[in-house]
């Protein structure tokens, strides 16, 4: 808040990626000068909403406005993040901001990317609890410590910021599962109630699914929920190696 207030910036140079394949025009950067409420630190999404009032054809996804639904992953001044919880004070360079779609995925329009590859990889890891045992009448018991193993894993909001920042995913989006899907794989492997650990590991054993991760940690540095896919991936690798011995 104070960064902006002290500089008393009241208008922002917004440069935004525009593309509508139906229009026959090539992608271009549109430059807009946006007035913002004096002395307030608004979020990047608020800025986009103001821009959309000027030009209703600007397209982006958004819903919750509080960083929990994962709709508005985008590339903000070169870094992936969520528009709704990235304050201008953090994002601005001078009074300039450049917004692009998440890199590496096909663009549907403007800031909207096609998430199909991302979701397909998620589906591959069987993202649901597998437990073939007879169910108790009440809950399946889980100790506080067992439950703690899921912290840092289950909170993923599927925004795609991590996978689209990962060079390995850019090169092999069909074979390398990517950080988000692998984080979820580890979420189910770590769940004391899941009985399919071995099958899950079998599925990850090939040279690509997990092993294409080279520990560059781009994923960790962009995750808006502060999650650590690299750590989860290393845990999976360790389990696979241990099993092979």
């Amino acid at each position: 808040m104070d960064a902006i207030a002290s500089k008393s910036i009241s208008s922002i140079n917004l440069s935004i990626y525009r593309y509508d394949p139906d229009s026959g025009k090539k992608p271009f950067m549109q430059d807009l000068l946006i007035d913002i409420p004096e002395g307030q630190d608004i979020m990047v999404l608020d800025l986009l909403n103001i821009a959309k009032e000027q030009d209703p054809s600007i397209s982006f996804r958004r819903s919750c406005g509080e960083g929990v639904c994962g709709s508005d992953g985008m590339n903000i001044n070169g870094k992936n993040g969520l528009g709704c919880i990235t304050p201008l004070s953090e994002a601005l360079r001078g009074n300039k901001i450049v917004l692009r779609p998440l890199p590496g995925l096909p663009v549907i329009k403007d800031l909207i990317v096609d998430m199909k590859q991302f979701v397909d990889q998620y589906k591959k890891i069987k993202p649901y609890l597998i437990n073939d045992e007879e169910k108790p009448e009440k809950e399946i018991k889980q100790s506080v410590e067992e439950r703690e193993k899921l912290d840092g894993l289950y909170e993923c909001i599927m925004c795609g910021c991590c996978s689209t920042a990962c060079p390995s995913f850019w090169w092999n989006p069909d074979k390398f599962l990517g950080p988000a899907a692998l984080l979820q794989a580890h979420r189910f492997i770590s769940d004391s109630r899941d009985t399919a650990t071995e099958e899950r590991l079998d599925q990850l054993e090939d040279a690509f699914s997990v092993f294409k991760c080279h520990g560059i940690m781009n994923c960790v540095s962009v995750c808006p929920k502060g999650l650590n896919p690299t750590k989860a991936i290393n845990e999976i690798k360790k389990k696979l190696v241990k099993r092979a011995l």
Partner: protein, 601 residues
């Protein structure tokens, strides 16, 4: 043929057709519970959602799901939960529905746990439960209960993702990022499907089905300050009203006490459940004055009004004395970080304070629609005949926040919405499953019937001049905030109603400037505005008509509850813009009905 830049008019012949056994409009908790039930029984099921399902607003629910699963207290009893819910509703909740929800609840919660929902745990490895407002033991005589099952303060996220995952497993079809526009009715007043378009391509469809479920969620965006997502625009309510069916208790809007000041984003009641409390500018814990027994955990309507009184009487905090503080700093970092990690994040982002060190500035924020599309316990939508009797609308179901099976009456208790979603989402799914097995015959829609459902969409698509969507929307929101907020009075509401008529005239004449086909969010927002308009007007007319104060509906000019005239549901039809009454159900099946008493906390 996608909707295109030439703004051509659509008719039945230009639509593609897809057919399913059951169509669920809405991929939130209630929709996904209904679809899961259907898909698991082998029926061809589609979920239509304007956002990818896990982006639905259920994901934002924080505090938990209230249910007497006897984890925190082995002697807990669903009947006590029922008592609290009836009392919380200020006695216009339907007791058959409330009984069904409280009794069926535990089964549904354990089912979610078996699906993998990562609930927080107790030392014995059971599901963790926390205290929430309005919860008691022993029919109000045994003190505060702890009945809200929680996954940290991210219960909605955990629940929604778990249900999405279970639907993937069950093979549900997802029409993700599709926008449903209007219901298709046949000549017998039965619903045979819905008009929708794929947002990515702009391709319009007739989605045909023997059973259509509206699970479209809330409509908090009729107000300026709300905890609701931007997509919560009451689309299902709009569709139902345009189809000539009624809505119920639309005056009943819950204002949640703790919205982050200046933003509206919610911090959960679970904060107070974990021991947080509200203070005014003098540092006084003022709820001790208003609700000596339950204090900060009195029912939401009571706490929100008390806060507004503190502010109106000059005891608010900050330079403008226009908010109060929620104190958590006395709880210590351990509790705050372990039990309320999401709140810590939100508070830092939107209030710029770390709750471990500083109190959070809060004001009441529009949060939840108790009213909605009237249904019975099977989720079947009801309409009212001219003689006042209930009739089922064949082919149409509703569940979740869009519906009003009326378990919340005049005021919803915390954690009861998530329970409502899963219990009645499932019961709708079950009823459809059984009806499909028995065989459903609905007569076909004619081309005229289909064209009828295209009127609105065409109007927007062919508009060539007219009013700007964004500015009408903000006018509407301001009007609702000002004239139909926490405290209401006849004069202001009359003024607001006149204003709304003006706004409606403008909405008749909106101009969609961008007519492109591909991911046209401007088209979506224009259609959403038409739905907001229907919801706002239903709210305004019903609020003005209910001449008493009950639950969330507090009038300065009628300050008392009037059981003689208003122990009733209000029913509103859009064509007449008139309100009629409907009896509240006082016939639970197992327990004796709870009779109205003075509601104090």
């Amino acid at each position: 043929m996608a909707m295109n830049g030439k703004g051509e008019e659509l008719d039945a012949s230009k639509l593609k057709v897809l057919e399913y056994d059951g169509i669920v409009v809405g991929g939130g908790g209630s929709g996904l519970m209904a679809s899961l039930q259907l898909a698991q029984s082998g029926f061809k099921t589609a979920v239509v959602s304007k956002v990818f399902p896990t982006r639905s607003h259920t994901v934002s629910a924080q505090g938990g799901i209230t249910c007497a699963i006897q984890s925190a207290d082995p002697d807990d009893d669903w009947r006590w939960h029922m008592y609290d819910t009836v009392k919380g509703s200020d006695f216009i909740g339907d007791q058959d529905s409330i009984e069904y929800m409280c009794q069926e609840g535990p089964k549904a919660v354990f089912e979610l746990e078996h699906m993998g929902l990562p609930f927080s745990r107790t030392e014995e490895g059971k599901i963790y439960q926390r205290a929430f407002g309005g919860q008691s033991k022993d029919y109000g005589k045994g003190g505060q209960a702890e009945r809200t099952c929680a996954a940290a303060d991210r219960t909605g996220h955990a629940l929604l993702h778990t249900l999405y995952q279970a639907n993937l497993k069950a093979g549900t079809n997802f029409l993700s990022e599709w926008f449903a526009v209007d219901l298709v009715k046949n000549g017998d007043n039965q619903v045979v499907g819905v008009i929708a378009f794929e947002i990515e391509t702009g391709e319009p469809y007739f989605l045909k089905s023997k059973a259509t479920v509206l699970a479209t969620g809330g409509a908090g965006r009729i107000y300026q300050t709300t905890s609701n997502a931007m997509i919560n625009t009451g689309d299902g309510t709009g569709m139902v009203l345009r189809a000539g069916f009624p809505v119920q208790d639309m005056e009943m809007w819950q204002f949640h006490p703790t919205g982050i000041y200046g933003h509206g984003t919610l911090v959960t009641e679970g904060c107070r459940g974990e021991g947080g409390y509200l203070v005014n500018k003098d540092g006084e814990r003022f709820m001790e004055r208003y609700a000596p027994n339950y204090k900060d955990l009195a029912s939401r309507d009571v706490v929100a009004r008390s806060m507004m009184l503190e502010i109106l009487e000059g005891r608010g905090c900050g330079p403008n004395a226009d908010h109060v503080y929620l104190k958590l700093d006395h709880l210590g970092p351990e509790i705050v970080h372990k039990r309320l990690p999401g709140i810590t994040e939100l508070s830092k982002t939107f209030a710029h304070v770390d709750p471990v060190e500083h109190p959070i500035p809060v004001v009441p924020t529009c949060h939840y629609a108790m009213g909605g599309i009237p249904t019975n316990v099977h989720g079947q939508v009801l309409t009212q005949a001219t003689d006042g009797t209930d009739n089922v609308v064949h082919g149409l179901y509703a569940a979740g926040e869009a519906a009003c099976v009326s378990v919340h009456g005049g005021n919803r208790l915390g954690g009861n919405s998530l329970l409502d979603l899963i219990v009645f989402g499932r019961s709708a799914g079950l009823h459809i499953e059984n009806s499909l097995k028995d065989g459903i015959t609905l007569s076909k829609a004619t081309n005229d019937d289909i064209d009828q459902a295209l009127v609105n969409l065409n109007r927007v698509n062919i508009s060539s001049t007219g009013e700007d969507v964004a500015s009408i929307k903000s006018e509407l929101q301001k009007n609702m905030q000002l004239n139909f907020g926490v405290f209401r009075t006849g004069d202001l509401m009359e003024k607001g109603l006149v204003e709304l008529e003006n706004i409606r005239e403008k909405t008749q004449n909106i101009h969609l400037t961008d007519k492109s086909s591909r991911f046209n969010t401007a088209r979506v927002e224009a259609l959403e505005l038409l739905n907001l308009m229907e919801v706002a007007q239903a709210t305004a007319v019903s609020a003005n008509e209910r001449k008493e104060s009950r639950g969330a509906h507090a009038r300065d000019d009628f300050q008392d509850r009037d059981d003689e005239n208003w122990l009733k549901h209000s029913i509103y039809f859009a064509d007449t813009k008139e309100v009629t009454k409907r009896d509240v159900n006082f016939r639970p099946k197992i327990v004796q009905a709870f009779q109205p008493i003075v509601r104090s906390y």
